[in-house]
Structure formats: structure tokens, C-alpha cells
Amino acid sequence: MGCIENLKYEMLLPLGASFKECREYVEKNFAEVWYVDPGYKLFDEYIIGLPPIALGLDGGKIVFPYTKPCHGTYLLRIEDDDEAARVRRTARKKK
């Protein structure tokens, strides 16, 4: 992974999860769900995937898919109050 590798993250789904599994997991397990499009910048990385990409928020914790060509999509959780606030300002909230 790139810069995100240097952050303190938790992996919620095992390696090789599909992007659809990640979206379903977020929508099913988080009360606060926001949507972004591919190319949205999060933690200085461009998010990859099939739009709309679901992000789960829990206070300052952000749950998001992170895709690498050889590994598939990771579903990661990182705590960052400022980034969570930015997501709430710039993403689309699930209705």
C-alpha cells in the first residue's frame, strides 16, 4: 500500500474482498453511510472502485475500500477526526 500503509489502520474484511462485498458490508454494518465517486481523495490516496463507493463513518472513524492491483480490495478503518469531518462536508449522505 502507499501512504495509507503508514497510517494506523484496522482491516475489516480479509484480503481479496470484492468491491461489491465491501460496499455491502459498509451499508449493512454502519448507521452512517456516505457515498463518493472514484477518484475521491481520502488520506491522500485516490479511491478506486465502482460508483457509488460507500464509506462508513463512526464518530472520527472512517471505513473505506482500498484497492491494489494484485491484492484486491481491502476494507480499512482509520480514525482521523479532520478527515471524517471533511467526508461529512464533501460526500453524499445515504438517504
Partner: protein, 172 residues
Amino acid sequence: MTEPPEIPGSVSGLVPGKVSGKALLLLGCPEAPAQQAIALYIAHQLRTHGSDLLITGNPSVLNLLRVSDPAKHYIGPMMVLEKCIEEIVEKRRTVDLCIVCAHNDAAIAYAATMRHLLPVSRLVVIIFGKDPGPLAAAIDFPCEKIVEKAVHNPMQLKAKVNEVFGWVASRT
């Protein structure tokens, strides 16, 4: 600078209203050997037909190409995937044609991203590997698909690529 001449069957000839012939070849994980062969073949054909081609992928896949073609007879400019996506997101790069090689779910996610970021470009997704059917079925965004079971032997894949791009099939 003059535009390359139009050649029947060339990429620029296939995209109405687009004559610049800027092409992007996005490679997935290099785990399946067929990708390496088809990438060199597509690069050769596109450049022969006058396209301005950029190849992108992770460092491993780009290094495989560099080592395979040290004199750069077939490959041209290359760029790591993250940098390429950054340039496209920031609208510093656009293409008329984007080809994505996909043999896993991650590559389909990259293809979907390209569809979103390059809404008017021609997008061709080459789905290959041991079991390309389910991957191809997962694509529900507009694109042209080339689907072929190919891991080691690229010949059938090459035939389908030739068919889609109108390239004359080589007998060798």
C-alpha cells in the same frame, strides 16, 4: 506538430471526432503471463497505427515490460498507476482510448474508475485468466468487453483483440 496519418482500422479512425489518438493501456496484476504478451502486442499495434500510447500499472508490471523490451521497440512512455490516476483526476491527462487488462476483481474496479473519470473515452476491457466469465458479468458499466480464458497462451486473446480493433491478424 502534425497529426499521425489516419490508417484504416487505427484507433483514431475508430473514435468519431477524435483524431489525436491518445491511448492508455492500464495493466493489472502481472500474475497471468498472457498479460505481458498481449500488452507488448497491443503497444506495438497502437504505436504502429500512430497512437500516442501511455502504459500504466504497478511498478512490477512496468518493470516486466522494461526488462522484456530494453530497446523500447514496442513500449513507449510508462507511468505508475497512482500517478496516472492523479493526472486524470486532476484533468491534466485525458485519452481517446483506454484499454484495461483485467483478470481479477481489483482490475475491474480500476476499469470502473476509468469509466467514471473518462466518460467520453472509448473503454475496452480485456477480461482473461482462468475463469473470466464471472468477472465479465460483474461489469455493469458501459464498455466494450473482450473475454477469453487465457492464462499462459495469448493466441486466442490476440485474435479477439485483432477483431475488436480491426487489426490484420499476423500468421506468426
